[in-house]
Amino acid sequence: MDILISSIVAGLLIGMALALVALGLTIIFGVMDIVNFAHGEFLMIGMYTGLFTAQSTGMDPLLTLPLAALVGFLLGVLCYAGFVRFLLRGPMVAQLLGTFGLMLLLRNIALLIFGSEDRALHHGILVGKSFDVGMEIILPATKLAAAGLSILAFGAVWLFMKKTRIGKALTATALNRQAASYMGIPAERMNALAWGIGVSSVTIAGALLVNFWSVNPYVGLLFTMIAFAIVALGGFGSVPGALFAGLVVGLITEIPGFWDFLTLAFSAEWMENVPMTSFKYMWVYVAYFVIMVVRPRGLFGWKY
């Protein structure tokens, strides 16, 4: 029973952070129908930003979030204005491969600058601390903070999209591009803004994740695929969908924990021999495939 509850809690906590990772992807997709392969690479940049700022200035890693957001926003706008703008004129295959090229570029620049070794944070007020809430559930403080701040950032972006004038313009562009441009909403600027917001939300997630996740230049692809799975489940372009689906995918990544629980519950010997932890992320891909085939629109999506 303990394993079950701690797996659920761990899944939900990581799910909140993953939801923030996916938020950027869903905003970008919603506004301009472009699938961004470089998404995980932006996360990696956020992680390196958080790591190096914290290490060089001695600040607590959590205080690096505004800087990560700023870096992300500038990077997003730069990528849009310098590159993605041209992709939008081409066919779909050009968009897919173009953002894949962007991903390779960012990854290998990181490799050239930072080297291929794993880097992790070793200091900070939260690193290494944990709360014991009883029933043998231990909550690492870093994960708790990351989950809480992710929800906060998520809420901020959601409020921005719903309540502010410019955010409403962004939402309108996502809902119906042509109608929005008839209303005088500048589509080009909305695209750039979507890239700015989208990338800055994912770099914030990166700066949060680096508290408990070591970073190397190859970390991106896994998160890109997880973000795709979340966005597919929640619905391409749907913001509340991303939160809900993030929690679900967080639980999916904890399937090995549930497997252990079932193994104990049924005391089945054959179940012990399955190397479930090796399949940890495979379930995310399987879930993604099943969602795409059964309901391509996702749970809350409107685009198909």
Binding site: D33, V35, F83, F86, L87, G90, P91, M92, V93, A94, Q95, L96, L97, G98, F100, G101, L102, M103, L104, L105, R107, N108, I109, L111, L112, S116, L221, M225, F228, A229, A232, P275, S278, F279, Y281, M282, Y285, V286, Y288, F289, M292, V293, P296, Y304
Partner: protein
Amino acid sequence: MEVLNSAFDFKDFPRLDLTIAALVAVFLAFFPVLPHSSFAMATVIQFLMFSLYGMGWNTIGGYGGQVDLGKAQYVGIGAYTTAVMLTKWDISFWFSMPVGVCFSVLWSFILGYPLFRLKGHYFAIATIATSLVLKDLFEVWDFVGAARGIEISPIQFPSPDFIRLIFKEDVYYYYLILIFFFIGILYMNWFRKSRLGFQLRAIKDNEEVARSLGINVHWAKIRTYAIATAFVSVVGSFHACYIKNIEPEDTMSLDISILIALMAMLGGAGSLWGPIIGAGILIPLKSYLKEWLGARAGLIGIDLIIYALIIMAISAFEPRGIWGIVQKIRRRRR
């Protein structure tokens, strides 16, 4: 007979193209006789292999317009079938290759049926997911060596072994893959003029209209996907014998899938020569950049940075590829 006539009929290309193609063919036929380094030989073999991958991709991705980014899984199925059958039961390449094709095609039908309900981006990302799932499975499957992969040790076989396809010299591999390459071109030349080829182009242009003309869109796509798969699987089997050391990471990674699609697109998707042009540019570029900048200058990853910049430039400014540029120039002259 009619099929062969159609396969050998290149009359609809201008004479200039055919002259260049013939010159390249003659060059390839006599390449091993010319003075060359073993590195150049390996690069040309890679070029021929990736041209074949690209031709396979071109059926579904180029003529059919369905962007498939999961071809690496079939490279893996073909390579693993051959490697497992050779190392465990000592079965000849000429038997294991068709078996690998059967496995791949079967798997492609199983996946293709649900996959082709999707369109556009959704299809592309779903193919990536299927490929990654298979790679993850192979990485933990002990029977096929898990993440370590399988190694075929060439010592236990006498060197020119035409049955098992184990050679010490690359020349044998070269001529074998060259024969496959020419067969591939002839097949593609037939394919583009076949009934299925025309159906696919109709589907690419407008799926609704194609359906209203009585084309079974779903089935046409699945069949073409199987053809593409067979191409890739054959070369995958060859890859196992040629490289002799296969791992999930080398044969089934996303990078391979993307590289296959990218070559076809760089050369010009949906044209006969496109994948060959693309492979002819990208493969030498990739391996020589890696050799010069990566290995000698010690700048790890700089080859891939240049490579990424090329991808970005071609997809932003000329998405129809080099063949598209050629066509544009010709149209202007006329």
